[in-house]
């Protein structure tokens, strides 16, 4: 069975982005870019399913400009078998990405689609659920454990108040949470091997998808800053401040 794993190229999680002074967005010129951490967990999970013999092929997909090839190569270095780049210079919003992925699901017929639960740039947390709805598939978001058996998959999810387990009929969509696995380090030989793996490029038009953005960003601004606080010398002063100055206890 095939697994499709969409991966997004985002600003590295260690980078603190700066808002551009003209308010049109954040400055991402010359900052380090990486694979979205949740997507890395998704690739790792798919590759582990292949290593267990449950899955026969892992296909990584990325939507965006030509530089997303790097992200696909990283996915292939972790162990994905091939990559598909849906190339466009257009800004892509979650609904558009979900439609592109739906078209690829129709074409590739994977039994599982594993995505990160959210991208750490736009923090939308939408694409997996949207894809599931468009493709008429069941979903298990925020997964911390995935067990495939026959034509079903049991997924433990991280929800408010604890954990819950769902059983989904395949094909199905899963989105990953942090505790699902710890992605492996990519080794040099695997990076070299990944360069030889097949990478196809398609355009949104080839898939018959209109990717025009629906949301217009009017401006991007700095969040309100917190005023500088003070250091207190000891616990007694702290308690006094909380009681008499801040009046919160």
């Amino acid at each position: 069975m095939k697994v499709l794993v969409p991966v997004k190229r985002v600003v590295d999680y260690n980078v603190k982005v700066r808002v551009k002074s003209d308010g049109t967005g954040v400055d991402i010129a010359n900052v380090k870019m990486s694979m979205n951490p949740f997507d890395e967990i998704a690739v790792e999970e798919a590759v582990r399913l292949k290593e267990k013999g449950v899955v026969t092929e892992v296909i990584a997909v990325s939507c965006g400009d030509a530089k997303c090839q790097e992200t696909l190569r990283t996915a292939m270095a972790i162990g994905a078998d091939r990559g598909i780049l849906v190339e466009t210079a257009q800004e892509l919003q979650p609904l558009a990405v979900a439609k592109l992925l739906k078209a690829l699901v129709d074409k590739e017929q994977p039994q599982l689609i594993i995505l990160g639960k959210q991208a750490i740039d736009d923090d939308s947390n939408q694409t997996g659920q949207m894809l599931a709805a468009l493709a008429g598939l069941p979903q298990a978001t925020f997964a911390s454990k995935v067990e495939v058996s026959g034509d079903a998959v049991n997924v433990t999810r991280e929800v408010d108040g604890g954990l819950e387990t769902l059983a989904l009929t395949l094909p199905a969509v899963i989105t990953t949470d942090l505790r699902l696995n710890e992605p492996r380090y990519v080794t040099l030989p695997n990076i070299m091997k990944a360069k030889k793996k097949p990478l196809d490029t398609v355009k949104p038009e080839d898939l018959g998808v209109d990717v025009t953005p629906r949301l217009k960003t009017l401006k991007v601004s700095e969040p309100p800053k917190r005023g500088a606080g003070i250091k207190v010398p000891d616990v007694a002063t702290l308690v006094d401040k909380l009681k008499n100055e801040a009046k919160v206890i």
């Binding site: 923090d123 049991n154 000891d234 919160v248």
Partner: protein, 310 residues
């Protein structure tokens, strides 16, 4: 113009996140209706009818809605979506799960995690872990929204007297089945609704120490307990206590961070708290840059001392 709020509830009562979402819905400018989708949820529907500012409650009751499966909840919302200009979910695990299915099937963009309503079609939302605020305008006919509850005051839970209208429950999708739930038992206030939160980090060193040090402080203050991602990943605290960009977003009156260095992902989840206290022995810890009161000390002596002094 009418807004629909999807209630977060446990059949017996309405969860506080619903109240903040009602306030956001009212800010969109029209009437506010609330959908209570569940099984045996009469009490929750009655409670929703009491919320100030709600003009109608729609109760869908049936087996298919018992466990809040996203497929069925979304189908339920879609069955009545035609009547609404705005559909708002609280940005809880349940809301985030179902909302995008509704948006995709209506072929509209979703606006996630809004913190402010500027006008009926323009909203503010944090991006990049709250390091930037985007103002976005939607051109779609229906606005599907998730609401960051810390961005809006809670509507009054009483004072309203809306009529409750019952509708048929959506059919089960047949593709997803609820198997079981492991609920973390706790008498403490819910993390996202607590007035005071005490949060522990990696410096606690073990699950035993985490309990031993943080529990007495939480007991003394009647506080909820939170944790940093590092503490959760290390197994010191359960996952549903994680505060941060991808965990819970909280804004209590008082947030006490003990042994938390303050990675940007953690700060994203708590920097809107009214008063922040940081206890850390590293003077360079980034948490001090957002703390109103910083105490540079070893938490293993400072926290027990604090418990005694309170």
């Amino acid at each position: 113009m009418t807004a629909l709020v999807i209630a977060e509830h446990d059949n017996a009562s309405i969860k506080p996140a619903t109240l903040n979402t009602v306030t956001a819905a009212a800010a969109c400018g029209g009437d506010v209706h609330v959908l209570v989708a569940g099984q045996g949820a009469d009490a929750a529907a009655q409670a929703a009818a009491q919320i100030a500012g709600v003009s109608k409650v729609i109760q869908a009751d049936g087996e298919s809605l018992k466990d809040g499966l996203a497929e069925n909840v979304a189908a339920q919302v879609l069955a009545i979506a035609g009547n609404y200009s705005h559909i708002l979910f609280p940005a809880t695990a349940g809301g985030k799960n179902a909302a995008p299915r509704v948006a995709a099937q209506l072929d509209v963009a979703q606006i996630s995690d809004i913190t402010k309503v500027d006008s009926p079609d323009t909203f503010e939302r944090p991006i990049y872990a709250g390091n930037a605020i985007a103002t976005v305008q939607s051109a779609d006919g229906v606005k599907v929204i998730t609401v960051r509850t810390t961005g809006f005051d809670a509507a009054a839970a009483t004072g309203g007297s809306a009529a409750v209208e019952k509708v048929a429950a959506a059919a089960d999708s047949g593709k997803s089945r609820f198997v079981g739930r492991e609920v973390t038992k706790s008498d403490r206030p819910e993390l996202t609704a607590a007035k005071i939160i005490v949060s522990g980090g990696r410096a606690l060193g073990s699950a035993e120490k985490f309990n031993e040090v943080m529990t007495p402080l939480a007991d003394k203050l009647g506080a909820a307990i939170g944790a940093s991602r590092a503490a959760v990943d290390a197994g010191y605290a359960p996952n549903d206590l994680q505060v941060g960009q991808t965990g819970k977003i909280v804004a209590p009156q008082l947030y006490i961070a003990a042994g938390i260095s303050g990675a940007i992902q953690h700060l994203a989840g708590m920097k809107d708290s009214k008063v922040i206290v940081a206890i850390n022995k590293d003077p360079e810890a980034p948490i001090f840059s957002v703390a109103d009161y910083g105490l540079e000390a070893d938490l293993f002596t400072a926290v027990p001392e604090l418990v005694k002094a309170l």
